[in-house]
Amino acid sequence: MKDILTVMKFTIKDMTKRKSFLISTLIILILIVIGFNVPNILKAIKGDATKDKLLIVDNENIFEGNLEVLKNADLGYEIEIRQSNYDEIKQKINDENIDSAILIERQDNNIKIRYIVKNTAMIENVPENIVSNINAIYTNMQISKLGLSLEQLQSITPNFEFLLEQTDEEKVNGNIFAMMLMSLVLFYAIYFCAYQVSSSITTEKTSKIMETLVTSTSPTTIVLGKTLGIGIVGLLQMILIVGTALISAKTFLDGELLNSILDMSSITPYLGVVTVTYFILGYFAYALLYALTGSTVSKPEDIQSANTPVALLTVIGFYLSYFTMMNPTSELNIFASLFPISSPFCMPFRIMMGLASTTDVIISILILIVTILVIAKIAIRIYSNAILNYGTKMSLKDILNMYKTK
């Protein structure tokens, strides 16, 4: 145990003292802070007018001045209504004085409304809210001309109550954006931390320090100490990144905007504890597999191809979780939350969505722990025999022989 702690402490110290590690972590944190400040930066550059400028031109006064109500309709535009012509509008858009314009003209018996932007590459149709608001203004204008009574007016004005309901008995909470974001963070955190184990072992092999190391302590101690050390650094790095993101979001983003993107009510301490637990267990499972592959190569250029099977397994686990998330009550999603290669990425969402019972979580964690123990037994045995083997990259047959060797 003392040796495991010594290896762990050395690994932590060695990793955190590296300039590359410090600089990359600092860059990630700076990018996060900058990312959450993009609206503020845009505001500083453009001034307070962060809303797109929309010019409405009704030269023939077809809407009889009623378009003024659009200014208070919260359409997301800074609206100006005045007389103009197409050429002048074109000039203003090209000069970036305005972002878009609506030109209302009568053509025979029809009313032609043109929505003019600089380029339609990013726009397929006229924005729905503009269409519906202009339609509503025109309808109200015509109805008021008919001189209808209040009852008549109410009878023709739709007063429907639209409700969203599901046939599944299980109620789903949270929002998909937050879940996908969390899935990605977990995937990258587990993938990159576990990969570090492989890279660290190959470095020890290529620098020939391994021979000295295995005479100083047992291979099991080296694998466990190294895995723990890198895991702790990875966990701290993840906490630092997520913490910086959450603090930046709360500090720099508008509260309403933040709530519209992330349902903060579903982020609970229980979810935090379970997510960290799945990070640790998922990391251990993949790190031990990477320790195995890392020990089978002697040259840094072989590490990528040796790690490919484990990388594929990680990606399959992630996508199994990611795609079944679209249909969270499906049996495949339940399977993904229990299957050890995907459960670290999947179960935290099911908890966030309120779909996972405590029993589900316990069963999933137990399956993952048993898997880790099996992987550890195989990985440590192969690692112990493979670390002193120098030469070309091992084939699957060689690796199996390594497992059989006492």
Partner: protein, 296 residues
């Protein structure tokens, strides 16, 4: 007591790497382990250090079966290695702690050996900034920093300049004086002859020669004669049908099959009135014995 290997064997995927070898190191001294590349030296060393398991036989240290924990050993592997980006002091401390030293003991030992090996100025530098020779001295420090009872040195002098070779030689002599047991593997036979009291020569995993070096050499008949004369004696040597191994400025090394021929040659030189500065009948060197035993 000391180190005893009894009928030890190891097989790798159908190939016998070490076949039934035995050796004893009963008192503090340097034991030479010799052999060509792939003869089984490294496998033997790894087994006696408990890094790999033997298939057959017994290895004991002071009567107890050897494993990684039971022997306080130091090891300088043939494959030199250091953490390239880590400060020398940090890596030495790491290995000292893994070998059971506490922080204070480790730091004191690092200071002591850094002074002896003249590497004090490199302690706060990453290993990649050191020359190969200095990196080797650091690895030698790793092997002895925890005051081990048994030290295994695989090619300790390869790559070192004469000054550093001398420093290391003195340290090895001191280790033996201080009651340490040393096993040394080297390709330079002169080094083995200088240090080792006992040797074991391996060939293809098998012991081909073993015992006290002095006794082994004594058991071999003389095989060459060195003559320093003041004129060319090629013609006389040819008359005796002897092979000239080397000749420079009338100093000859001549191969002989027995001492009688050497005596006859000496009589002839005296008879011819040739001035003889030196005439020495020589026993075979360890190099000769090694080549005879393992040469194809």
């Amino acid at each position: 007591m000391g180190l005893i290997l009894k009928n030890v064997s190891k097989t790798y995927v159908g190939k016998k790497a070490v076949d039934n070898i035995s050796l004893e190191l009963k008192e503090p001294s340097v034991y030479g382990l010799l052999g060509t590349n792939g003869a089984g030296k490294t496998t033997t060393i790894r087994m006696l250090l408990g890094i790999i398991k033997k298939d057959e036989g017994e290895i004991t240290w002071n009567g107890k079966k050897v494993d990684r924990k039971s022997v306080n050993f130091g090891y300088l592997p043939e494959e030199r290695g250091v953490y390239p980006k880590t400060k020398i002091f940090d890596q030495l401390k790491y290995f000292a702690e893994l070998k059971g030293m506490n922080k204070i003991e480790a730091e004191e030992s690092i200071k002591k050996w850094a002074k002896v090996l003249k590497v004090e100025e490199y302690m706060q530098m990453p290993a990649e900034k050191l020359s190969k020779g200095n990196q080797q001295k650091i690895q030698f420090m790793t092997a002895i920093i925890h005051n081990p009872e048994l030290v295994v040195l695989d090619e300790p002098f390869s790559g070192l300049d004469p000054v550093n070779t001398e420093i290391l030689k003195n340290i090895i002599i001191d280790l033996v004086k201080n009651g340490k047991y040393v096993i040394m593997s080297a390709h330079q036979m002169a080094t083995i002859e200088e240090f080792c009291s006992d040797i074991l020569i391996l060939n293809k995993g098998k012991t081909v020669l073993q015992g006290n070096l002095k006794e082994i050499k004594e058991s071999y008949p003389a095989n060459r004669v060195e003559i320093d004369v003041n004129q060319n004696i090629d013609k006389i040597i040819k008359e005796f049908e002897l092979e000239i191994e080397n000749e420079k400025n009338n100093v000859y090394t001549i191969r002989i099959s027995n001492e009688e021929k050497a005596h006859k040659l000496l009589s002839k030189l005296v008879e011819e009135g040739i001035t003889i500065n030196k005439f020495e009948i020589k026993k075979p060197t360890l190099n000769d014995i090694f080549i005879e035993k393992v040469g194809e």
